[in-house]
Amino acid sequence: MTEVKLPRRDFLKAAGAASAAGAAAATGIAACSPAAETAATAPPAEPEIWLTLNATEAAFVKAVVDTLIPADELTPSGTDVGLATFIDRQLAGGFGNGAKLYRSGPFLPGKPEHGYQLALSPRDFFRAGISEANAWTTKTYGKEFDRLTVEQRNEALTAIETGKAQFNGGFTSNFFFDNFLQLSMEGFFADPMYGGNKNKVAWKMIGFPGLPASYREEVKTYFNKKYDKEPQSIADFS
């Protein structure tokens, strides 16, 4: 049995709200944002179900997506917009299991010019990356990533992003970071049907209208005029 982790949601929420208030004061752009309301009213707690992530991995993923996408005046936290769910589903499915990935050896170390050259499926790569990241934060801070304070998380993630964190799994920390960030951004901006971008928060944040995306006249009538429409997703047309 691994140790039982304490629920960290509430703590995070408080921390997120505090930094959100700071950011809002600094920029002064929050007041009229519709996302601000969404951020303030916490959605009802849903049961957490993981298709493939184990408890340690789930805690890590949640902590990282909350660092990448902190709750602030623009959106709720990464976990609250469904990014951990998105990553779990992606890793459990075809992508995670290496669908359409050429997986024959020999597996030789490549240069960055060669792209992905690991023998691991994306699922196994994330497993290995999470364990390396937790090993590094344990060595550096005495704790796994999800147990760090918000400041420590930012600092640790920066070290991982820039390759300063020492990983021993046959890949660098920045390579793991790049893949993690890419998957997170996919979840954040993809159609909500995949589990991330809940309530189309990311689309609302930037002003992407989603569907149906027929602009034959609008390309002219909205010339140099902001096309500010409430976004619609695939589910809205299904």
């Binding site: 902190p70 930012n154 992003e161 149906p212």
Partner: protein, 589 residues
């Protein structure tokens, strides 16, 4: 056990764009045709429909329509000294799979090459002297001229319903079109698309600088149009999801929408999907391919399909690889310069830039790749290279929009890539970016080529094809020069902030650059300098014809498909008119 099938008039290997075109032309001429396509069938009414088609994750990021790397891929290295590693997941380029092939998810930039491009070696020699071409630059004249191809460019335009504005109609220059283009016998089938906000800004700046901007020609109908096969096309919706995806409006040209409805039910045509062709059976004595071997990927059964005419239209990598595996033609040897199969592999050299305009609202999700504006003033031999340290050039285009948000949300380079600051900056710049691109030529170099990989295998156990490729000094010098032109245009547009993106020193397989791979089975005037003649007919096997950009001697400063399409019609016309009656070499070696 290989099951031998009944002989047909023609077999087409790969029912992508050119494969479908040839199959259609052959059946019109009364030939029986079997199409062998490695991927699945693609039926637009099931796949390319709203709302499911507006799914950026599935199509753009997970590459739903692209070739399955686990079945077949390419290995890559920068030079002959290195060990090539397999492309495990596509990056720089994205070959397609299934009926319609790569064209199902193309960007639609629809071009003709310049008359001087077709005689580039001669033009350069005439203008700058014989010494102007560096010894390692293995460029060659095309064995076909612009004027000979023009009727077939025109036919291809009318199959596609291309949108654009002519700049040279039967020799008469027309302001607002591309005044550098070769003479067209007819206007574009449909009018140019409406420009994006960024394209309007780009056009103004180019006019101020004395360049000659014009709307980008686009391989899609801008208004309803009936194509040469009687298929009704719809108008472009400016949906913004076009790149890497098919089109629900029946507007952007793909084989499943523009050809298959007029071919699918043709009694003389048989389509076999999931049919992976592994080898051509070659009779060296008779100089013929007698049949082709393929594996049904659903059952694992092997079949032999005899045919009178064999069309190899499997995209650039399959085309060379099939010749290697079948022992047809002499493989190119980069050390000696001997041999032809795999020679003159080229690509596109694309420098880009991004400019941000805080006071403009550019609606980045609207539009299509065809709503860009372009200048051709610095392409090919449209400008004087005297005193410059390079040959070649390319068009420059500018515009905004046409990108969904996972991939399309530029921020200045110094913005962090995550956290609250990143969110704020993303919101700040999202509506305000204009993109610029130079579609740079790649003049062949003797060090860049395709051959057989010694280590890695495909799903059938055949060696993978190996790509040895790097950018050259000429490419970089050309690109630096083009960036100075882009820089001047951007300055004239007066942005809040802008960034130029010079190419990295070494070619890299990530991220995406373009699917404009060319060469490997180049055309030419003799068996010693080429794999096929001007009719795309193999010198080594007279009933074998090779379609696609693999036959280009080098790559010029344009996207390839317009010329690929024209060549396919040029060749099929000759085959139907002459070869069928009198099979044999169409050009004497």
């Amino acid at each position: 056990m290989v099951t031998k099938l009944n002989e047909v008039d023609a077999v087409v290997i790969g029912v992508g764009m050119t494969g479908a075109m040839i199959a259609k032309e052959f059946t019109l001429a009364g030939l029986t045709v079997v199409g062998l396509e490695r991927g699945p069938d693609r039926r637009p009414r099931e796949e390319s429909v709203l709302p499911r088609i507006r799914d950026e994750l599935k199509y753009v990021q997970r590459l739903e329509l692209m070739q399955d790397n686990s079945i077949d891929t390419v290995t890559f290295r920068n030079n002959s000294e290195q060990t090539a590693l397999p492309i495990r997941r596509w990056g720089a380029f994205l070959p397609g799979e299934g009926v319609g092939g790569t064209l199902n998810h193309w960007g639609g930039m629809h071009w003709r090459y310049l008359p001087t491009d077709f005689r580039i070696r001669s033009t350069i020699t005439e203008r700058y002297g014989a010494g102007a071409i560096p010894g390692d630059m293995t460029i060659a004249d095309w064995p076909v001229s612009y004027d000979e191809l023009e009727p077939y460019y025109d036919k291809f335009d009318k199959m596609c319903g291309v949108a654009g504005k002519a700049g040279n109609l039967r020799g008469q220059k027309i302001a607002g079109g591309n005044i550098f283009e070769g003479a067209r016998s007819d206007e574009y089938p449909t009018p140019a698309l409406k420009p994006s906000g960024g394209a309007v800004l780009f056009t103004q700046a180019c006019n101020n600088l004395g360049h000659h901007p014009f709307p980008a020609p686009f391989g899609a109908a801008s208004q309803p149009y009936k194509n040469i096969y009687g298929i009704q096309l719809g108008a472009c919706e400016y949906c913004g999801f076009c790149g890497r995806n098919s089109c629900e409006a029946n507007s952007k040209v793909t084989a499943p929408t523009h050809i298959m409805p007029a071919l699918r039910d043709e009694a003389k045509f048989t389509l076999r999907t999931n049919a992976f062709v592994s080898k051509l059976v070659y009779d060296r004595q008779a100089k013929k391919v007698t049949s082709v071997l393929y594996t049904d990927m659903n059952t694992g059964e092997e079949y032999e399909q005899p045919a009178g005419i064999v069309i190899l239209s499997g995209y650039v990598f399959t085309n060379s690889n099939m010749l290697f595996h079948s022992g047809i033609g002499e493989p190119y040897d980069a050390r000696t310069g001997r041999g032809v199969v795999g020679k003159n592999y080229c690509y596109q050299f694309e420098a880009t830039a991004t400019a941000f305009f805080e006071d403009k609202n550019l609606n980045p999700f609207m539009g299509s790749p065809g709503d860009r504006a372009v200048i051709d003033d610095f392409n090919g031999e449209n400008f004087d290279h005297s005193g410059l340290d390079f040959l070649g050039g390319g068009y420059i285009r500018g515009g905004s929009g046409a990108e969904p948000p996972i991939g399309g949300r530029a921020v200045p380079a110094d913005v962090p890539s995550w956290g609250s600051e990143w969110k704020k900056e993303t919101v700040r710049w999202y509506y305000h970016a204009v993109e610029f691109q130079n579609q740079g030529s790649v003049y062949a170099n003797r060090a860049n080529y395709l051959d057989v990989d010694p280590i890695y295998k495909d799903a059938l156990g055949r060696p993978l094809i190996r790509l040895t490729y790097n950018a050259t000094k000429n490419d970089h010098a050309m690109s630096r020069y083009m960036l100075t032109k882009i820089d001047a245009i951007i300055k004239e547009m007066n942005p809040t902030h802008y960034e130029l993106h010079p190419r990295p020193l070494n070619f890299t397989i990530v991220p995406y650059q373009s699917t404009h791979n060319t060469g490997g089975t180049m055309m030419g005037t003799t068996p010693a300098n080429s794999v096929v003649n001007r009719y795309q007919q193999s010198w080594a096997a007279h009933n074998l014809f090779i379609m696609g950009a693999s036959t280009f001697p080098q790559q010029h400063g344009y996207n390839p498909t317009g010329t690929v399409g024209a060549l396919a019609y040029f060749a099929s016309d000759k085959i139907v008119k002459d070869y069928v009656k009198n099979p044999g070499p169409l050009v004497q070696a």
